[in-house]
């Protein structure tokens, strides 16, 4: 049965864009409260639109929407098609939800420039929606750029300090280079296929497996992996997060970074699946190697940071690496694992960033040393913070566990070893860092906090100094995020939808069929329920390891010298710190090295 989307998916882009244009035009004459109300309304409207799209795609099947009514002629797509299937539509819903929460959090007090915050947030939202719904490769690039430009501007919102400008400059340089790399990849593919629609490119490439296809794939992957902050393309991320206002960080860490991984998965399965099929295992091993490097590097850096936002930023890099590892586990199950993990992680990390914003608002500081023992009067924040730490270790009762168990099952099926170890290490290190900060800030345990150079930059509070009181709209967003992460675990009915959608996304013929005919292809894959008990054991192990590490760090002076593991790791490793030099030239250099490494690995191992 052929279905049409219940409403035009283009509205998910056009409505926030139009609202942004109107808000930008009238912002000089409107009071702040009106901007907040209108911004929130526009964002909720987008949430409604995307929810209708998601509902339609779940209950009536995937569909395609040709903008301007330009249906394909024969096998040639002459217009731009938007493919509405549960995964893309679900990501759009997630974007609208997080943006609404972020706008609620910034209600009245968060510095908004000259009310620039609201239109920029709405444009950012529109770009994320377009990015997840489009079925056209060049259109993907356009929304990639729109998302980047809005993000650069949002990142530099706090212009009173020099640090934000440096952070956003590094962010802008690296991500612009990534954009041009992506465009080069698109052009190379266009030269041999003469197509821009992803399904058509996939059809046209078929089994073609020459240096051109490999290099184009390298460029596309590297460009989107820069957004996804996979080592060595990740260096911009901590700088950008350290300086961006809290509600913006929530969107960056919660979704923007992960959309890079979504694009990699989409391109891999829609375009190169057939071409790489004989070499799938080698490709997965290469992706896994990059994921492992990312997890180790970012995990240790995360524990060595004392600036809350930088610490959470490195934790995002680490978890982005884990998601790539899940994708590398291969097949529809690996994809389902990545998407499950992505959704759960968005809520947990969003909640943690909101809480760091609460601390910044209430305590006027964001470094661990200054926060020491100052937040004892915030028990609910402490509870949510600890919950976040449990979530990062992928322990129950948060939904990250579901993703982890699926990833382990997928790795088992594809004989990829070492995935569980990586999840334990990444989970232990990131949850240990969050627990350590919690013990210091909320409980005041131990012998005072260490610090490091970048933590001492200091960050001006982003809210009006007159208002240190916490209000409901500070509490609701983090609490809602954590609650949703728990609810997703407690009511796992959504998993069967995601499982089947992932099966359809991972099948090139299914995607091709849906893109051209607008007809739903019903695919399904088995549940991974039996993998959950094992994952619970492993995640509890990660949590205990994290707890021990955090305790050995907090009570370092009461331990014998050779047991001070935490303090040793906390001091950080010099070469890793040096890599994070803050110099845009270095960041571009590491990107070049990354592309060269990725490309050589492809040429060497995928050519036989």
């Amino acid at each position: 049965m052929m279905t049409n989307p219940p409403i035009s998916p283009a509205l998910a882009v056009a409505v926030p864009l139009l609202s942004a244009a109107i808000l930008a035009a009238v912002r000089k004459w409107l009071p702040r409260v009106a901007m907040d109300v209108l911004g929130l309304l526009a964002s909720l409207g987008t949430l409604a639109i995307t929810s209708i799209l998601l509902y339609g795609s779940v209950y009536h099947g995937a569909s395609v929407y040709w903008l301007g009514g330009w249906w394909p002629r024969g096998s040639t797509a002459i217009g731009i098609g938007m493919v509405v299937e549960p995964i893309g539509a679900g990501l759009a819903v997630l974007a609208a939800l997080l943006t609404s929460l972020a706008l609620l959090f910034s209600w009245r007090f968060v510095d908004s420039g000259q009310k620039h915050l609201h239109p920029l947030m709405l444009i950012f939202l529109a770009a994320m929606c377009g990015f997840s719904l489009t079925g056209d490769l060049f259109n993907l690039f356009v929304f990639f750029e729109l998302m980047s430009i809005a993000a650069f501007a949002l990142c530099g919102l706090k212009t009173e300090e020099p640090a934000p400008l440096q952070g956003s400059f590094n962010f802008a340089i690296t991500n612009s280079v990534a954009g041009f790399i992506v465009l080069t990849g698109i052009a190379l593919l266009y030269s041999v296929t003469g197509a821009l629609n992803m399904a058509q490119i996939g059809l046209s490439i078929g089994h073609r497996h020459d240096p051109l296809a490999l290099f184009a794939c390298t460029l596309l992957f590297c460009g989107f992996l820069t957004k996804a902050a996979i080592a060595p393309f990740h260096l911009w991320l901590p700088d950008a997060h350290a300086v961006a206002p809290t509600p913006v960080c929530v969107l960056f860490s919660g979704l923007m970074v992960e959309l890079g991984l979504y694009a990699v998965a989409r391109i891999y399965y829609a375009i190169f699946a057939q071409s790489f099929a004989p070499h799938a295992y080698a490709l997965h091993v290469i992706l896994f190697a990059f994921a492992v490097a990312t997890v180790l590097l970012a995990g240790f850096m995360c524990y060595a940071e004392h600036h809350l936002k930088r610490m959470l930023a490195f934790s995002t890099v680490c978890h982005s690496g884990l998601m790539l590892a899940a994708l590398a586990a291969g097949g529809p199950l690996g994809l389902a694992a990545m998407m499950t993990y992505l959704v759960a992680h968005a809520f947990v990390k969003g909640g943690l960033f909101f809480l760091s914003g609460v601390l910044l608002h209430n305590q006027r500081s964001i470094t661990e040393r200054e926060l020491f023992a100052t937040a004892r009067h915030l028990p609910w924040a402490a509870a949510l913070w600890i919950l976040g730490a449990i979530g990062l270790a992928a322990a129950p009762p948060l939904a990250l566990l579901l993703g982890e168990s699926a990833a382990e099952r997928a790795a088992e099926l594809s004989h990829l070893h070492g995935l569980s170890a990586i999840f334990i290490i990444g989970g232990a290190l990131t949850s240990a860092a969050v627990l350590r900060v919690g013990m210091h800030a909320f409980f005041g345990w131990g012998d005072g906090a260490l610090s490091d150079r970048s933590a001492e930059i200091g960050e001006l509070p982003e809210t009006d100094p007159e208002h240190r009181r916490l209000r409901a709209y500070h509490l609701i967003p983090p609490a809602l995020c954590m609650l949703l992460a728990i609810a997703l675990f407690a009511y796992p009915h959504w998993l069967h939808i995601l499982r089947d959608a992932a099966a359809a996304m991972a099948s090139q013929p299914a995607y091709l069929h849906t893109s051209y005919t607008g007809r739903h292809v019903a695919l399904t894959q088995p549940s991974w329920r039996e993998a959950i008990p094992g994952a619970v054991t492993r995640s509890l192990l990660a949590l205990i390891l994290g707890l021990l590490l955090a305790l050995s760090s907090v009570f370092r002076n009461r331990l014998p010298r050779h047991l001070r593991v935490g303090a040793f790791v906390e001091r950080g490793f010099h070469p890793l710190r040096e890599m994070q030099s803050g110099h845009p030239g270095d960041y571009v250099l590491w990107m070049t090295v990354g592309i060269a490494a990725f490309g050589s690995a492809f040429m060497l191992f995928l050519r036989r």
């Binding site: 440096q166 280079v177 270095d586």
Partner: protein
């Protein structure tokens, strides 16, 4: 088309990409870095234009030629137009950041962008 020229524009595009990267890596002045980014961008123009070119094709404008005439690819030209705008826009935004950074710290050297180290 003489054989030596088969891949010339692609090589030039690759060269420009590398030039842009080299400039960005070694830059000592933020404005210089931004200009290098523009050079890097122009590599994509070169590539797109070369891909859509057809020997003997005319411009895809049928104001005074017959619609049956052989034309070069109009799609890459549409993509290039988008690309030109993106370039100008990225440069404008980056320059604004440089100007502001200069106002705040009085320096335009990337070596001084070091408060975010480590």
């Amino acid at each position: 088309m003489p054989g030596v020229l088969h891949s010339l524009p692609y090589f030039v595009a690759a060269w420009l990409l590398l030039c842009g990267l080299y400039g960005l890596v070694t830059s000592k002045h933020l404005v210089h870095a931004v200009v290098c980014l523009a050079i890097l961008q122009s590599s994509t123009y070169m590539l797109l234009l070369a891909i859509g070119y057809r020997v003997g094709g005319s411009a895809p404008i049928f104001a005074d030629i017959s619609t049956s005439k052989l034309v070069v690819d109009p799609v890459v030209q549409a993509l290039m137009l988008t690309d030109v705008v993106v370039e100008a826009v990225v440069v404008a935004l980056l320059l604004a950041m440089v100007v502001k950074a200069h106002e705040k710290s009085g320096s335009v050297s990337p070596n001084d962008l070091r408060t975010l180290r480590g």
